[in-house]
Amino acid sequence: KSLYPSTKALIVLLLILLSMMSSKWQVQLCLIAVTMILALFSGTLVRLIKLFFESLALIVVFLFVLQVFFISYPDSHKIWWVIKFSQTGLNTAIMLASRIIAISLPIIWYFLVTSSDVIIQALDQTKLPKKAIFVLASTIQVVPQLMWQSNIINEAQQARGVETTGSLWQRIKTFIPMMGPLVLSSVEQNEEKVLTLQARGFSNPTPRTTLHHISKKKIDYLLDIILCLILVVFVIWGGKFL
């Protein structure tokens, strides 16, 4: 958990690449297991599984059922009406489901163990242009802010007689009264936001300093090298194992 963000990102990247290169479900299972172990060590296993079920499980099940029972393969035999079963389908489905899980779990894990402020902090220390970092950081922060604001707008418009629940058409009609104030007031406040940044010296030409510094430890560098090596090894000889 205390690893440097980019090192963790490298782990995730490696897991994903391996998963994409491989066409064996056993490999995918191994990768899933590795992620689980990582999560276990960082104390996030329970939340990882919970998040997985909240977001992805449904899609995985849907795809699985679709592959096994609905899509036609040469070896399909009919069970009932459009429902059919096929071994090829089952194999594909296992492959597909395990791959989706193997790819998405590391990503969920990454964002569980790395808070966005640390990512921004790490980006801040790189030589990336500060404007790019600004856009990213401020977008991430503004989203919840706008969500909250849209709730208030929702209330304000209900208070003047706009029905915000009900049929589809009813809800489409609320689009303009909802989005109008959100966009207008944001744009209106934009100027003051710019001036605030100027008042904090944003466009000062001398190079920025940073308040904190998170540094890469030896283990980070070591892991970086090992991970790169593993990657190279698999890219060159991987075909045989995967």
Partner: protein
């Protein structure tokens, strides 16, 4: 039976700490009532129950003798108007006139009716020469009057203003004062949340004090601002003239005119 009553209402946002606890309130048409208290005392939560934006966890809100439970906010809005603190959270039309007329058009009122209502509301809020302006071309304080006019045009029996004095200059506060007088003379019920104590003593005969999720006391400004322990508990200060009068040895004197009278 009073027109609007809150019958032992409680509400909590997080199921732990009540934002409003066991509040009883009765209001009559033709009244102007001020609600004061620090931020977080439960003022806004209470008034939001009046138009259904918040439904009490416990207790009932009765409007004209009927329980408002199950009536949508949009329907209630014809009877209880609510002006939010920040005008930018509701303005979206490209002219003041359209903005004020928006709710009326939704009600499908005849065009002539809409035109007169918009004109009357705009005149009351001193916006009659601004009807064709883009709302965002007006300063913040005037945008606030646009939202007030929009609610007045809907002609509800009850009107709730959430901090209408914030960011307003001297003349705008005098204008607000006139609007409130006019509305009460039209037999409306006006409920105002405010932090401006001299605004309170100059315009309201009935004041309700909130602190720590409870209604602490209600009464005339004199009753409220002479209650030392209440003021301490709810972290309120009497208006400066009240402070001066007390120093000079006069109690229950809160406005410049009153102080002049007793001093002379």
């Amino acid at each position: 039976m009073s027109y609007l009553s809150l019958d032992d209402v409680s509400y909590s946002y997080d199921n732990k700490n009540n934002a409003v606890e066991s509040v009883n309130l009765e209001f009559e048409l033709g009244e102007a009532v001020a609600i004061i208290g620090q931020n977080g005392a439960g003022k806004t939560t209470t008034v939001k129950m009046m138009n259904g934006l918040i439904r009490p966890d416990k207790g009932r809100v009765l409007l004209d003798g009927k329980d408002t439970k199950g009536i949508s906010v949009a329907q209630l809005s014809h009877h209880v108007g609510y002006v939010f603190q920040n005008p930018d959270e509701q303005i979206f039309q490209d002219s003041v006139e359209k903005e004020i007329a928006f709710s009326l058009k939704k009600q499908k009122l005849p065009q002539t009716e809409i035109t007169t209502r918009v004109k009357d509301a705009a005149r009351l809020c001193h916006l009659d020469n601004k009807l064709n302006e883009h709302p965002y071309n007006l300063p913040y304080s005037q945008r606030k009057f646009v939202t007030i006019a929009a609610i007045i045009a809907m002609n509800p029996e009850v009107m709730v203003f959430d901090e209408p004095t914030a960011g307003q200059d001297h003349n705008s506060i005098i204008r607000l004062n006139k609007i409130i007088k006019k509305l009460t003379s039209m037999h409306k019920l006006v409920i105002t949340i405010t932090h401006d104590m001299s605004f309170v003593v100059n315009n309201f005969k009935r004041v309700i004090v909130f602190a720590q999720a409870h209604k602490q006391k209600e009464g005339s400004p004199a009753e409220i601002f002479s209650d030392e322990s209440l003021l301490r508990k709810s972290k309120l200060e009497p208006p400066v003239i009240g402070q001066l009068a007390k120093k000079l040895g006069f109690s229950n004197v809160l406005t410049v005119t009153d102080l002049l009278r007793v001093v002379n």
